[in-house]
Structure formats: structure tokens, C-alpha cells
Homo-oligomer: 361 residues x 2
Amino acid sequence: MNITIIGAGNGGLAFGATLIKQGMSVNLFDKFPTILVPIIENNNSVTLDQDGRKETLQFSSVTDNLEEAIRASKYIFVVTPAFAHKEIAAELAKCIKKDQVIILNPGRTGGALAVKKILEEKGKSGVVVAETETLLYACRKTNATDVCIYGVKDKVGVASLPANAINKIINDLSIYFPSLFPYPNVLFTSLNNIGAIFHPTPFLLNIGKIESKESFKYYHEGISPFIASFLEKLDEERLSIAKIFGVQLPAAKEWVEKSYGLTGNSLYDAIQSNLNYKDIFAPLDINSRYVLEDIPMSLVPLAELARVGSIETPYMNTIIDLASALYKRDFRKEGRSLEEMGLVESIESIQRLANNHFSII
Amino acid sequence: MNITIIGAGNGGLAFGATLIKQGMSVNLFDKFPTILVPIIENNNSVTLDQDGRKETLQFSSVTDNLEEAIRASKYIFVVTPAFAHKEIAAELAKCIKKDQVIILNPGRTGGALAVKKILEEKGKSGVVVAETETLLYACRKTNATDVCIYGVKDKVGVASLPANAINKIINDLSIYFPSLFPYPNVLFTSLNNIGAIFHPTPFLLNIGKIESKESFKYYHEGISPFIASFLEKLDEERLSIAKIFGVQLPAAKEWVEKSYGLTGNSLYDAIQSNLNYKDIFAPLDINSRYVLEDIPMSLVPLAELARVGSIETPYMNTIIDLASALYKRDFRKEGRSLEEMGLVESIESIQRLANNHFSII
């Protein structure tokens, strides 16, 4: 089975290397030739550093030609910031065939819906579009042809449009990615977007420090009790939205506790007790995905979904407004609207769409 | 001439000591006996540390009885956080006489208007209420009976209700406070509230650091280029409001440059070049006046005034919303509304009120 990876960043190389290692034929695409040239000059190969072992692994092809890159592949893994999904969907629509499957890693909120809508508008309604709830890997490119995987998440939910295509996807992929498990529909993956809670707010409320390039531990030093308390409110809004769509999800606090079986009185305590966060440092560039991706592709579509159920989201709104004001961009306009996700203002119609979306695989 | 100081904090002791030193009879009031006891036990005296000299100065009386404190005074200096003005006005209304003059140091935005309204409602419409645009002193209590004045501002505007009472006030007080100069009306003092620009925003955008008790230079380290650029937008909103009321004021950038005759390309450059800011450190308590006073008593009334002229204030609104969300308080409701300032939604009527307010001294 051939697989194509779209995006030669941290996550793209981690996915690619993991698949090659397991004997798959993997094609790597990126729209920026400069990111590909070092890999091509390195004999189409990258070095994977994981569990203290290094291994050099060769892609079948490395190209900035999308049509070539996907031609022979059953699965197309999109591993890019979510703000690139729209453009990628439009390009894929020109060359994708109906038996091919797109998987967004991750979709953030509404990724699969937005991509599916573009494909349908371009006459490619047969294509299955899936999304994960979070990136499978904690990983980092250490240079242009080296990727280090620090950790692999135990469980990562994935859902598809149409919803019932997910079992076939899990059947095909769980041998390579045993952490993947199926969700009933994309409302689960889109609403269990924990980055929406943890990424933009602590970033913005430490922006003086970040812009001064002061290194600090993002979770353990950046999330003060006051900020953690704000995040709990933000998370309550997310859970209220999930509830109106009949989606039961763990709170951010439970999510943090899960890893170590910890319990705490507050999200602050839970974060402080979680040693997984010990060595995660803050991004040192104000143009971080924590804002540029997670505001328009996470908080904006969450606030849009809230609107459908007349749920008030003052905490989400404040962070969206703050980011828009600081970055002098209209993130609401740039972000995923109900319309871009192909949704109308009706809870039932959204649930129906998520559960039955059109065709069956 | 007798003078009463209301508020035995940093500013109150600085004003009191300065007046006593110049031969005035000064009565000190505070509603908290615990703050007064050490002064009473110290023979009603405080030690002023200024220009490298220390001097012990004795108040005529030190009391938590307001009626006693103001009985013999022509001028009543209110030197408290602006959120206390309402309560003080209500208490003063019970005992003040119509030939007494209240001066708020400073009024923040709408202080004189709000105090005047309460006095009128309680039948004390003859009382003159004035406000300064900023606190005259850079000062700090070093302990319960010691105050250090680091600097005295060169020029501090003051205005009154009624507007034409200001000349008499300046005549009476400029001998003691040569920095005071008269403004045409309280719209000038209220709109030239530079703390509204410099206090809450950098504080909130460094709150992770502040809550971690990390010491940092508030202006030189806390106001990053990104934050400074936000402040310029916030300041443009303030100047737009001033403009609709026919009030010409310097921009925050000019205000910062003024002190040293500096010029810079941006507010960030101006702040970095201003050595006055070199040693000003951030408050290390999240319950700081930079938020608790400057949101409800500066940004909220500024946004209220903007509403009268249909001026959009997205930057002010964002900071008010952010503070309300973080502190879990409804600062819009707590803050100075048009109604509390005795204003109606009409530019002309507000200008008329500010210029002619009722009686003439």
C-alpha cells in the first residue's frame, strides 16, 4: 500500500519515517521546494531518532508536484498547520480520485468538514475525509533531514466523513498506528480539540515574555493559577458546545490527569503534577501556530458551533478578540465559519451531516 | 489655610508632608484605623524622604472620623484609588459644606463628574469638585510612617466642576504646588488619562510572569514591540474620543517623548529611550490597581464616552473583556457608566455640562 505525506515539517517526517520503517512505500510532498531539496540531495532519505536509536529511511518519491505525489496512494496524510487545509483541499480536488482517502493530522476544529465541502463543490464528493483529534507524535525536526520522535500518544481518536468509513480506515491503518481508535463522527474529533484550550491563551497572556525571547516552561511556568482558572472557564464553554451536540468528552483537567492517573483540585494542580509537561518550553516566536493556527482553526469554529446552540462563549470571544487586536488581523473572518464547514444553524442538521455524510465508502 | 488629606497611602502622605513642610495645617483621614495607628503613635508625624534629606512632619490631626477631619478645611484632597471615590463622595455628602472644595488626585476618567453627581443628589450642589489628570508625585511609603518622594511631575493639569472655579483653585494652591496648571474643563483631565493606556494592557499581557512573582522592568521589559503597537491603537481610540469632544491632547508617544525631548519612530522606541522608566518595576500582585482601578475607572468610562460619539473601541473593549474574564468580575457593571458620571448620550450636552456645570464659585 502506498501512502502520501503532505507537509515535510516535524509531523510529516515523523509519519513518513514511521511508515517507511514498517515497509510502506511513502511519497513526500511539500509545496515549498526549499524544504524538500535537502531531503532529495540526501537520496530521498531522512534519519529517524527514536528510543535512542537512529535509522535512515528512504521515501519512494519526494516532490512538489501534488498530482505525482498522490497518484499511487490509497491514503493521503495531511500533516500541515490547519490554516493550509483550504488551499490543500482545492489543489487535491484537481487530481484526487474517489477511492482515495484524506486524513488530516489533526483537523483542529472542523477540518474534515471544511475539506469535504471544498471537494464536493469541485465534484469530488466520493472522497473520504478523516481527521485525528490531535497529532500522534511529540516530535521535532532537528535539521532538514533529521526528525526526532520524543513520544507517541497512547490513544488518538479519528473520525471520518462519511462517519461509517472509519472502520475500514482503522482496519487498514491500525497495524501501523496502533494508537488510533475510531470516533462515531467528526464532531468528536473537532470538539476534543484540546489545543484550543492550551495553546492560544497562555501564549497571549505571556506574550511580553515570549517576544523578549525569555525561555520558560510553557505549561509549568506559563500557566499560572490565574491563567489555569481562565482555561477551566474556556474549557467549560467547549464542553457546553459538545453537550448540545450530544458529544461526551473529558474536561481538560481529566485529560491532563489521565496520563499519570493523577487527581488534583484544579487544572493548575493537575498541570503542575504532570511530569510530561516538565520539559515543554514555550515557542519563542510571536508568529507561532499557537495563535496563527489555533485562533482561526480552533477557537473561531468552536465559537461558530456555539452560536448554533445559542451557547454564550465570552471566554473564547475574548481570546479571539485579543489575538485579532494584537496581530491586527480579523481572525473571525480568516477562520472557519459555519459556512466554510458546510454547516447550517441547526443542531439536528449538523448531527445528521456528521453521522451520515452523503455517500458510504 | 487648613487642608484635609483623605487616604493615608503613598500619595496621601506625600501630599500631606509637602503641605506641612510649607507651613500648612493638615488633617489626615483614612477609613482604616490600622493604617492610622502607627502615625498616631508616632506623635501624628511622618518622615518625608526627598532629595536626599529626611524631615519629620506633624499632622494637625489624624483620624478616621471624616466629619472631624474636614471640619476646618477649605480644600479636601482625595488621594485614594478611584474605585473608592463613590463611597467617599457619599460620606462627604453627609458633612461637607458648600464653600469646601474637593480635589481628586487623580480623578482617572470621570471622577469629578461622578463625585459631583452624588453630591448633587444629596443636596450638596454648591460644592466644587476638581480632579488632576495624574498623580503629582512618584512616591512610595517605605513603612507605615515614612514616605519617599522620588520625583515631582513638572506639569499636572487640573480642572473643576464648575469649570470656571479652576482659577481660584490655582490661585490658592499654586504656591504649594507650582506644577499645577488649569485645564478648560474636566473632559481634558478625564481624557488625558495616560494610565488607561499604560497600566492595564501590559499588566494583563504579562500576567503569567506577574503571578509567578518574577521581577521585571514594567516599561522597558514588559512593553514588548507587539504590546507597544497594541498600546498605540488603544491610544488612537482615546484620541478619537477626545476629538469628538473638541479636546486636543498629546498622543501617548508624544507624552513619553516630552520628558527628555526625545523622538522615536514608535511608542516602543520612545519608551525604550526614556530613562525615567528605567527603574520602574512591575507590580508583583495580581490584585493591582493597574487592573482593579484602571479597568473600571479608566477604560470603562472611556468606552462609555466613545459610545456617545459612536466611536468604535475594539481595543478598549478587548482589554475590558479580558480583565473581566480573568478576574471573574463584571468590570463594565462595576465601572463608571455614563449615568454614574451624570451624562446623557449627547456630545453637546456633555460639553455644556463640562463647561458650565450649574453654579459658579
